[in-house]
C-alpha cells in the first residue's frame, strides 16, 4: 500500500476594511452594482481565511506539513500584510476590486509559495453568511 494522502486545513482570522468600487463604472453605476458596499468611506469585516494543504503524510512525523512552519508563513505573508489594513490601499488591489472573490484568489497565490505542502483550496468567510472558495481553476 502506498503512502496515504491527507488534507490539512487551518483557519486564520483577520479584520480589514474595503470599499467595492470599479473605475470602469460611473459613480451612479458603482452605487447600483455595489450598493452599500460602495460607501466612499469603506466598511470592514472579520474575515476567516481557511487554507487547505494536501500531500502525503510523512511517516516520521505523521503530518502533511509542519504546523509551526505554516503558522509562521501565515503570520508573515497573510496576517502581517492584511490584518487591520484597508484592502483598497494595498498594491494587490490597485488593479482589481477588493471583493472577497479577488481576495481569495490573492491568498491562494500567496500560499502557492508555501514550500511545506501544496495548497489545495482557500476559502474565505467574509461574514458568517458569505464564503468564497478558490482551488486554482481557471
Amino acid at each position: 500500500m502506498g503512502v496515504p494522502t491527507a488534507y490539512l486545513s487551518r483557519r486564520y482570522r483577520l479584520s480589514a476594511s474595503h470599499r467595492l468600487h470599479s473605475d470602469e463604472y460611473s459613480a451612479e453605476r458603482n452605487r447600483e452594482v455595489y450598493g452599500k458596499c460602495n460607501n466612499p468611506h469603506g466598511h470592514g469585516h472579520n474575515y476567516v481565511v481557511e487554507v487547505t494543504l494536501g500531500g502525503p503524510v510523512d511517516a516520521s512525523t505523521g503530518m502533511v506539513c509542519d504546523l509551526a512552519e505554516l503558522d509562521g508563513f501565515a503570520r508573515t505573508n497573510l496576517l502581517a500584510r492584511f490584518d487591520h489594513m484597508n484592502l483598497n490601499t494595498l498594491e494587490e488591489f490597485r488593479e482589481v476590486v477588493s471583493t472577497t472573490e479577488n481576495f481569495t484568489i490573492e491568498v491562494y497565490r500567496i500560499f502557492e509559495r508555501f514550500a511545506g505542502a501544496k495548497v489545495q483550496r482557500v476559502r474565505i468567510e467574509e461574514t458568517g453568511n458569505n464564503s468564497f472558495e478558490y482551488s486554482g481553476y481557471r
Binding site: 503512502v3 496515504p4 491527507a6 486545513s9 487551518r10 483557519r11 516520521s60 512525523t61 505523521g62 502533511v64
Partner: protein, 140 residues
C-alpha cells in the same frame, strides 16, 4: 448520489513522539506536543458517506445505525482515552503511528471501511480544534 454527514465527538489525550529520534529532535520537531505527560483535545469527527437514496425508505443510510457504528467503532475506543497508551494503532512500537490529526483521520477511515451498509465512505474529517482539521478520502 447523495452525500450524508454525521458528527460525533470524543475527548482524548495524546502526545507526539518518534521513537527513532533523540529527545532533542522530538522536542525540536513537535514542540510542546512532545510533552510525554500528554495533553488533550475535544475532537469533532465528521463522517461523510455517499450512496443512492433507497426508493422505499428515502434514506441513503439509517442515521441511527450510522450513529451506532460511529459509537461502536470509534467513540467507544477513543473517548476519554490516552491515544498513545490505550489505542492499538497509536501504541508505541513499530506499527504505532503518531496520533496527529492526519493519522487519526486515516485510522478512523480504516476502522469504518466496510462497516457501513448500503453506502461508501466519502470523507473522514477530524477537527482537533475549530481552527485546525484534517480530511482523508482514502487516497494512497
Amino acid at each position: 448520489m447523495i452525500l450524508l454527514t454525521r458528527k460525533a465527538e470524543f475527548s482524548s489525550a495524546h502526545y507526539y513522539w518518534n521513537d527513532a529520534w533523540s529527545n532533542e529532535e522530538n522536542e525540536r520537531v513537535f514542540g510542546k506536543c512532545a510533552n510525554r505527560n500528554g495533553h488533550g483535545h475535544n475532537y469533532t469527527l465528521e463522517v461523510t458517506v455517499e450512496g443512492e437514496v433507497d426508493p422505499v425508505s428515502g434514506f441513503v443510510v439509517d442515521l441511527k445505525e450510522l450513529k451506532d457504528i460511529l459509537e461502536r467503532e470509534v467513540v467507544s475506543v477513543y473517548d476519554h482515552r490516552h491515544l498513545n497508551l490505550e489505542v492499538p494503532e497509536f501504541a508505541a512500537g513499530p506499527f504505532g503511528k503518531i496520533p496527529t490529526t492526519e493519522n487519526i483521520a486515516i485510522a478512523i477511515w480504516e476502522r469504518l471501511q466496510g462497516k457501513i451498509p448500503n453506502a461508501r465512505l466519502h470523507r473522514v474529517r477530524v477537527y482537533e480544534m475549530p481552527d485546525l482539521f484534517a480530511d482523508y478520502y482514502g487516497e494512497r
